[in-house]
Structure formats: structure tokens, C-alpha cells
Amino acid sequence: MAVAAKDLHGTLDALVLKTLSWGPRHGYAIARWLEDTSREELVIEEGSLYPSLYRMERRGWIEAEWGESELGRKAKLYRLTAVGKKQLRAETEEWARFAGAVSRILLPA
């Protein structure tokens, strides 16, 4: 069963940042990449994705500019900033600690 990314509280930001660490992308591409990479296990909801993008832009983690998309159309492309990279590292570590703790409980060796 697919999981809505918004159910994993606070994780969506980290996932988006991770996506952008491979290079600038527009919103749809971010959603598709996450869906493809998770083999459709994650459903990225537009209602959460775009506010998350705008919030992170305001915080300075990512920056946006209008550029050409693959189809030759104007699209808003997001890029990771230096601050965003730092944030990504912090969130990754946080997730690892969280996942480890949950795994130790749910999947005892």
C-alpha cells in the first residue's frame, strides 16, 4: 500500500531536499522522481508539495528561477542552496536516528 508523504511528519522537506541534491528540478519532476525512486510506494500530494517548496524557499534552503523545461516550456526550477545542503545533512541524520530507534523496537534482532 502506498504511503502519503505528508503522513511522515517533517519528512517531505528532507525528501525534496534530497531530490534537489541531484540537480535543479521543477515541482512535477520532484514529485515524479520521488514516486519513481520509491517504486510508487510513496504518493507525493501536490497539496503538501508546493507549500513545502514555498516555505523552504522563504527559509532560504532552496532558490527558484524560471527556466526552460524538457518540453521547451517555462517552468519554475528549484535548486538547493548551501544552507539547504546543511539542512539536508541535519535532516538525514535525524531520520537515521529516528528510523534506527523505531527499527530496534519493531524489528528486534
Binding site: G23, P24, H26, G27, Y28, A31, R32, E45, E46, G47, Y50, P51, L53, Y54, R55, E57, R58, E65, W66, G67, S69, R73, K74, A75, K76, L77
Partner: protein, 891 residues
Amino acid sequence: MPRQGAFGRQLRSMLFKASVSDEVDAELAFHVEMRTREYIARGLDPELARAKAVGRFGDIKRVNDTCRRIGEGRERDMRRAEWIHELVQDARYALRQLARMPGFTIVAALTLAIGIGATTAIFSVVHAVVLRPLPFTEPDQLVRLYSSRRGTDGSSSAANFLAWRERTKSFSRLVPVEYRNFTLITSDRSPEQVTGERVSADFFPALGTTFRLGRGFSKEEDQPGRANVVVLNERFWQSRFNGDSSVIGRTVRLNALEHVIIGIAPASSDVLSQDAKIWVPIAFTAEERADSRKGYLDVFARLAPGVSMAQAQSEMSAIAKRLETELEDNRENGVRLASLTQTFVGQYRSRLLILLGAVGFVLLIACVNVANLLLARGATRGKEIAIRAALGAGRGRVLRQLLTESVVLAGVGGIIGLGLAFWSVRLLKAAAPSEVPRLDQAGLDVPTLAFALGATLVSSIVFGIVPALRTARPDLQGALRAGGRGSGTVTRDRVRQLLVAAEVSLSLILLVGAGLLIRSAILLQRVQPGFETSRIFTAWVALPPAQYDSVASVRLAYERIMAEVRAVPGVESAAGVTVIPMTGLSAQAAFIPEGRADDPSNSISFNFRIATPGVFRTLGIPVKQGRDFDDRDVAAAPCVLIVNETAARKAWPNENAIGKRIPGVRGPDGNRIMCSVVGIVGDAHDDGLREAVRPQLYFASAQAPAPLWNAMQRSMFLIARTTSEPGTMTKQLQAAVARVDPTLPLFDIRSMDERISASLATGKFNTVLLAMLGAIGLLLAAVGIYGVVAYFVTQRTGEIGLRMALGATPKQVLRLVVGQGMRPVILGIAVGAAFAAAGSRLLSSLVFGIGTTDPVTFALVPIVLAAVALAASVIPARRAIRVEPTQALQS
């Protein structure tokens, strides 16, 4: 995807500047479209694919709103950040600019520092003394009440006060205060004289006093026989009892009666007299209650809620009208109300506000000077500004840059000015006459710092706006032309000349004010006091009523004291008199000379005093006719009087006063005792050199009846003419008095010279300050004139060279250049003189011996100003005539 540089991004955002809302719409539409394509690619019908994409997106309107809100927030953040960034950039640029021209910066900053520093220092004093509310509960509700006869305010009698208190509904509390002296004896020290007040139980509640320790007086303690309690002033408690809190409950002797210390009140409670060290209950006796003649009470009150001053005044006037006939000897006795705050800061208010105005002028002159400097500099910066404008900086942006420079410059001046203010306030406090109330609390407190900040910002606009508007004018072509001398030069010169005219006007007004006060001080110095001032020892002594209850005992005590003092080696002559010159004290009584109708309009108000023989010889007051008091004037002999020339003239115009009679105070039988004039003495300026001489009346100490002695609290000033410096005689004279009564302290020991200079101190202080401000204004104006002429010379070097090459003589060139400098000076003097003539009326209470449009001052000041201006323009003009024609033409 190629990365764009910062420049490219900026450029593109300028060209493609969509609103946040458009961007969000486009971005979300793009997303839906891509999703639709995805579904089509998976084989769905386009129509269905679009519907599915939209359906999957959910509430697109809500997402759109959320994103737009966040996006707009981001724009706001950015604008703010950009604004701050630009400000920092501008400030940095301004500092670099100022550092690049250190000469200009130092002159401008120091000029502003003087202006801001002086203004801040004076404001700090004005705030402490005048503007700050009194430290009482609702101080605006506190009112002073005067018994006033024919426009003269005086103290009130107990009978009047009690009748007021009984009848009025305008006041919640009505408080009588009697200022008096006490002899304080504690077990550990020799007796000392302290000033204090008798007050009613309402005194502290009316002020809203919070006691440091203990409590105030109860109603029960405010009754005869129970009033053996005392409250100490906190300051006195600190100095005399070292702030020892165990004094509460301790017993001290006051005027030979035991009193228990029950409380310590804050120093500010001393609202009427300024030097009350102790308070005791007034506890009116039956005799005092009945007395409507003797005015000795200073009355203040707290207005009842909702009652205005005008309402209270009209009620009190009506009450006083009825009391005129109800009480004995109470005709023409009215009541006048005044705000307590006003009486408290009284005379200092107008003086200090005049100083604040004067210092404001200095700041204005400083601003005008700096504006002139900036204009001159703006001319040389035309090119730089034009380049910035060409690079896309709008006029507003350039203006902002220039004003930021002004603010930074004023800020530098303000910081130095605060330093100056700090020292000036300390200097002012040390130099000011000691009786200025609350001056000790002046300092760089929060309101003063806020004022300094305000003065700095306002002056940066005042001196910055005109030069900035001129400099920022987009006169691209003119400025970019080689030489940078555009068409603006002529108008700019006119503006500069107007500024010079303005500062000349301002300094003229300032100097006229200073000049009037200096002239007054000179005239005051020439006033003959009418008595000798050197080598005269004075001290005050009061006989406590408990030990000296009869008139006979009082007379005997003073006789013995005088005999002891005269026997001291080094004393040439000595005498006693109840009031001496320059103490600010006076005792008045109204009498009708014999032979005139018993009508109030015939009564003359005399300054009366009781004197022992030898007073006039000791003080060097000439006996013009008749004789001094002597051994013949004993109690049993007929009552004699001595009057001064003013009294003689006033009471018996065109007649010889010797032998004339006045019915004096009532004797024990209720009839007035007839006294005849045996001597006329010269006029002496007793109330201060400024004040006109009043009619004076002397009673012989051996004859003066009990009511007169009681009115003077059985006190006398001891005066002794000494062979050496009076200060060195203090110990011997104290010992002489102690031989008569060891519990009698001498009080207020000072030489007559000291009293005179103290009486002139306030006026002198004002004069010196205003003269200093005038001098600063003159100096700044001279610098301004010099600057304008010097600038004119540099700008016109070529023209001057040409004229000289064409045969102009140095004299002609000098006249041209100096004329250029003097034209605005003449205009400024004319305008300034007109304003000064209109405004000098404000000084009318401070001038002496001249009018406020004194022709000498109004002639001298413009001459001085013109001479200084001439000197300031000749110096740079002489440079002009040394110009080599060939050299000038080449440049």
C-alpha cells in the same frame, strides 16, 4: 542547465517581474499539465487524463492561496533585507566619503557637536528643573494660596486660614505652613540652629508622601500640648544622624521642649521653603486661631476631584470678600491662587527657557554652517553623482544616499556633542547658584538622551535637505562637462548667500540678547548699595520662646549680647537688627501717618525692623538728619522711630519728617502707641541691587513691643564691623554669645560681601551663559562667512585673473570679493535687528537700567558683527589679489 550569475538573475528579474500570484498560477498549471501528459502517455483519453490530473491535485484553490501567502511573505522579507542592506551600504559609503575629506568632516562634526552638545546640556537642566513634574501624587492638583493686598502676594494669618478651611468646598486638603527656625539639642552635640516648618496633619497626606521610615502627624498630635513629635527630612537625617534608622522613637530637644522623632520624609516633601530640615505639628493655640493680623502662614492645597483652578479661585474670592468685614483688620485682604509647580520653578522657568531658545539658535547657526559646507562640497561632487545617476540610480536613491551621509555626519557630531554635554552639565551644576531647585538631578538621563537623538536627527535633515536636493538634481550634461561647473553654480551661490544672511540674523539676535544682559550687569555693578559691604560680619540668632517668654528678657539678652560682642578685640562697632540687607528677608507692616484719615488708601506699607543703637554706624548708612538710637530710648521713654529717605518722602512729601508721628502697633491697653521720628537715614538697597528701595521704619530694640518681637521670632542679626577679615572672627564672636547663653547657636554666618555676591549670582550666571552662547554664535557665523568668500574666490580665480589682466587694480578686486561676502551680511543684520527688536521683550524681566530696545546695544552689536564679518571676508579676499593673472587664466 547552465547556471546564471548573480548579475544575470538580477537583470532577468527586472525584465521578467511577474507578481507572486501569477507565478503560483503558472507553476501549478504547469504541474497539472505535466500530470495530464503523463496519464495520456499511459494511454488515457486526453479529456479523462486532464480530469484525473485535476482530481489528483485536490483543492487547487487552497494550495494556490497557501503558496501565494508564503511567496508574498518572502517578497516582504527580501524587500526589508534589501532596504537594510542598502542602508548599511549607504552608511559605509558615507563613512568612506567622510574619511576621504577629513578637513571637512572635522570642521562639520565639531560645529554640530558644539550645537548639539550645548543644546543637550541646557535641555538636561531645563528638564530637571522646569519640565519634570513634582514628585507628588497628581502634582497638577496642588495649588498655592496667597493672601493678597492691592496686587501684592503675602502670607496669611491663622484666622484667615482657618476660616478658608472651614468654608471652602474646592479643596480636599488645605495646608498651613510656617517656616521657622528651631534650636535643636541632642545629647551628643552642642546646640544648633535648624530651619524647619510647622505644618498641619494634612501636610503629608496632601502631598501623597511615602515615608522612608515611620509616619506623619495624626490629627490628635496637631493640637496644643500634644504636638511633641517631629518628622525629619531624609537629607537632614542622612547628614545629621548618619541615616540611623534607630532614631525613630528617640527624643530630641527643639526650642527647649522635648520632641519624639516619629518619621523620616523624603527630601522632596520640602516643597515651599527649599531648606526645611524638620517638620513639627502646627497645633494652633487659641491665641493664634484668633489672630487675623499677623500673616505668617504659607498655604497650599489640593484641589478636590473635578474642581478647576478657576472655580476654586472664584469660590475663594467670594469667601475672602465676606472675611474682609468678618475678621478684624482684614480689609482689602483677597486670595490669589497659583499652580504650585509654577511657583516652585517660578523665575527659573522663563530664564531657562530663554537659555534653551538661545542654545537652539546656536544649533541652528551650526546647521546653517554645515549646510553651507555641504553645498560647497556638493559642487565638487557633481560628477560622482552624475555617474551614479547614469548607472541607473534614481533621484530618490541619490537623495537617500546624500541624506544618509548627513545623518552619519550628524551622528558623529552627536556623539562628540554628548561628550561635550556631559562635561557642560557638570560645569553648569558646579557654577550655577545653589538655590536653583532640583538642579542636582540634571544629567544625561533617558529624556535627555532622547532629546540629543532627536536634535541629531532633526539637524541632519535641517542642514542636509537643501544641499541634498541641489546636489541630487539630475543635471547630467552640466556636471559631466569637464570642470564640473554646471549652470547650477549661480543659483547655488544665491542659496549659500541666503544661508549666510540667515546665520548672521540668528547670531545678531543672540548677541543682542547677550548684549542687553551684559549692559545690565555693568549698570548693576555701578549701583551704590547705600551701605558698607567690606569687613562686616553677620550672623543670625534667635531666642527660644520657652526661655525668653517676656519682652523684658528678650531686650535684656540682646543688650548683654551686644555688650559682649563689642568687647571682643578686633570689633570696631557692633549692633543688632532684625533684618539686614541681601538676605531676601523682609517684614512689612502698614501704618497711617498721624493726621491722615483712617482709610486703607492712606496706609503706607513699610519694611520695618527693630534695631539696637549703632546699626547705622556699623553698616555705614549715613544719618542724614536727626540722630541714631541711643541710651535715652528706653522702654519708659516716648516711642521713637528712624525712617529712611524714601519713607520720609513718601509719608511726608515736601515736609521735614523729623518730629512727625505714626501710630504704631497696639500696646497692652489696645491703643496704638504713638511714635515720633527722630532720625532720617540714607536709602539702602536691602532687597538686592536690582530692586527699588522701599520705605523703611526702624524701632528701637529697647522699646519695640511684644507683637513686633514675636513677628520676628525674637531673632536678630548680629552685625559687627571688624578690623580684620570677618571670617577669622567667627570663633571669638560665637564665644561672646555663648557667655550670655551657652545654648544659643549662631546661624547663617556670612560676611556682607558674601551676601552681595550670592544675591547677584543668578543674574551673573545667566549673563555669562548667554554671553558664551553669543560668542559661539559669532564664531560660527564668522566661519560661515569665511567659507562662502573663500569658496567664491576659488570658483572665480579665472575671472579674477582675467579682470586683473584687463587692468583691474587690486583694490577693485578686493572690493568686488569683499562686497560679495558682505552683501548677505548686511541683509542678515537688517533682518536680524528687526527680529531682535521684536523679540527682546522676552528679556524684560532680566534687564536692569535699560529698555529691551537699548540703543547702545542695538548700535554696538551690528558694528561688532559687521567688523567680524569684514575680517572673515578680507582674509580669503587677500588671496584673490595675489592671484597671478597668467596662472589664473591657465587653470
